[in-house]
Structure formats: C-alpha cells, structure tokens
C-alpha cells in the first residue's frame, strides 16, 4: 500500500522487528526495519497498531529512541494494565511484524539552530525522546551545553543507564531516585521539586531551551516550576504520557 499512498499522507506500514534490547526489567528497545522510512526529526514519535484475531485494534504513540540517520528504534515501558505495551515488551520477537505509521509531530522536536543551552527533564520513560536528542547532538558534533535531570523510581529503573553514564563533552546527567536508592547514593532521593529545579536548571538569563517529557503530573509540576524560575513558556516544550506508574 505504501507505494500507492498519497505523498505526505500518513499510512500504516508493516515493519519487521530487528533486534530487541532489554533496558530494564520493564523496558525494552525495539529496532524496527521499515522498508520506506522517510527519515525523522529528533523528538518525533510513531503510532503502533496491534490487531487481535477478532479484528479489535489498539493504537499507541511511542517516541522514537534513535537519532535521525540511525535505524528506527522505539523504547517501550511495560504497563501492567496496558493493552499494547505487554505484547511489545514480552511477546514480540525479532522477525515478528508490527504496523507502524510516522514519523509524527512537529512541536516536541529539537534542531541544533534552536539555541541553548538545553535543559532536558525526564520522568521515567519520558527519557526516550531526550535520549534521541543526546544521540543526535553527538552525531552532528553539536557543542550546545546540555543538562539532563532524570527522575526514576530506582537505579534499576534507569533506562539507557550505561549510555548516559558514558556521556561527557558538555553533557551533565543528574539523577533523582524517588523510591529507592543504592547503598552510598549521594544524589537526589526525592521527586523533582522547586528547590531541585533551582539547583539544577540553567539560569533563565542564559536563555535556555527546555524539553520536559514524562507522566502528566511530572510534566505539569516541572513545566510550571521552570516558568516560576523565569523560563518563558514558549521555551519550555512539553510532552505528556498520561499515567505510566512513575
């Protein structure tokens, strides 16, 4: 069908799952082989559609985890009461097929000429599009300074932990662990709050650009906190996942 699609229209494509990588006990990255992928902008998402034997369909949006120029990948967190994520994280195997459409979105995207420094704030799997931004920044050799404040329940729940640990060269990663902390933890051990934002966020005078992604309650608290610190609302881009158990 893709070959007969009207140009610019969004069409469902059947894609094949390539590699599957476990990121945490509940989170998995799926590399997807798409025959006609037009390329994407960093921060965009795809819609994934599953069809049951009886014809029932469920659709969900998943942020793209890979940078433009890299093979398409999504990272999925299993929600225990979810309709789609348990299948994607537990049943799906390399070689299986899925229906996907995209790329989608023009608001929560980053281009290197948007200015900076960049203030990235993630709650749980909200780190996925921000990870794509970090990968893209490295890929194109951007020197924009970045701080990532990343809230997770525990150290085991930190997605892309090894990759984030290895970042340097103008990227600072600050973790907040809300429920449990490993022995000897000296970092933040609470939810992101206003004092934490004051300590971590770039001062508004530096004209930072912020991207906030995560569960809706996380995004609401963080975005209003940044505005209270003097960030213009137009420089705080938000994407809300609803409830994710974070």
């Amino acid at each position: 069908m893709a070959g007969t699609a009207v140009r610019g229209r969004l069409t469902w494509q059947t894609v094949t799952v390539g590699s599957v990588t476990d990121e945490t006990p509940k989170v998995r990255t799926l590399a997807l082989k798409v025959p006609d992928w037009p390329g994407h902008r960093v921060g965009q998402h795809v819609d994934v559609r599953l069809t049951a034997d009886d014809g029932y369909q469920a659709e969900r949006a998943y942020s793209i985890a890979s940078a433009p120029g890299e093979p398409l990948a999504i990272t999925v967190e299993r929600l225990d009461d979810g309709e789609v994520s348990p299948y994607l994280t537990e049943e799906l195997r390399p070689g299986d097929v899925l229906e996907v459409r995209g790329p989608i979105g023009g608001y929560f995207v980053w281009e290197p000429d948007f200015g900076g420094p960049l203030m990235l704030l993630a709650g749980g799997s909200g780190v996925v599009p921000l990870r794509a931004m970090l990968r893209y920044r490295a890929l194109i050799g951007s020197s924009v300074p970045v701080r990532l404040l990343y809230s997770s329940r525990s150290w085991e729940d930190v997605i892309y932990r090894t990759e984030l640990d290895s970042l340097s060269d103008g990227v600072e990663v600050i973790h907040a662990l809300t429920r449990s902390q490993p022995p000897g933890w000296t970092g933040y051990a609470r939810r992101v709050d206003q004092p934490m934002l004051s300590e971590v966020a770039w001062p508004a005078a530096q004209q930072p650009l912020a991207y906030v992604c995560g569960p809706t309650s996380f995004v609401e608290a963080v975005a209003s906190g940044l505005v209270a610190l003097g960030y213009p609302a137009g420089r705080v881009k938000t994407e809300r996942f609803g409830a994710t158990g974070q």
């Binding site: 969004l10 979105g105 309650s217 994407e239 809300r240 609803g242």
Partner: protein, 86 residues
C-alpha cells in the same frame, strides 16, 4: 490554568490522528478557544482518550474544543468548540 491530572495527555499524542483528518502536521497549529479566547498550540491542549473517541479541551476554561470518534473506519470530527484553527 489548572494542572492536568494523569488522565490527560496532550496534543502531541494525537499528531497521527490529526494528520489523518487534516492531511498535514497540526500539532504546531494554533487554536483559539471559542469559549474563553485562549490561544494555544495544539500540542499544548489537554487530550482525553477514554476509548470510544478523543476529546480535546482548553487548558484555561476546560471547554471542549474538538472531538473525534471513529466508526467503521470513518472518523467523525467536531471542531465547534474552536473559534479558529490556523
């Protein structure tokens, strides 16, 4: 503007649905609430997807701006809550 609860998504989540309906990227379009006049980018609007359809609400006054219901492969669209969408 009151804070959204975890039942709410935002307009980013319906980017695909909006391309289906309008034929183009709409999350960066600007909508004006027909009730209170608040102007917002579509990506910043409150979106509820209870299963039967999609309801988009104003962040300031909670008025229903857009609804989308899918029936037998067709999408029924109601934009009457918007004063404008550009």
């Amino acid at each position: 503007m009151k804070a959204l609860d975890d039942y709410a998504l935002d307009g980013n989540a319906i980017g695909g649905l909006l391309i289906e309906v309008f034929g183009t990227e709409m999350t960066t379009a600007t909508g004006t609430c027909g009730s209170c006049g608040t102007v917002s980018q579509v990506a910043e609007l409150a979106v509820y997807r209870p299963g039967l359809g999609t309801v988009v609400r104003c962040r300031s006054c909670d008025a229903v701006l857009m609804t989308f219901v899918q029936v037998r492969g067709f999408t029924c669209v109601d934009l009457l809550g918007l004063a404008s969408l550009t």
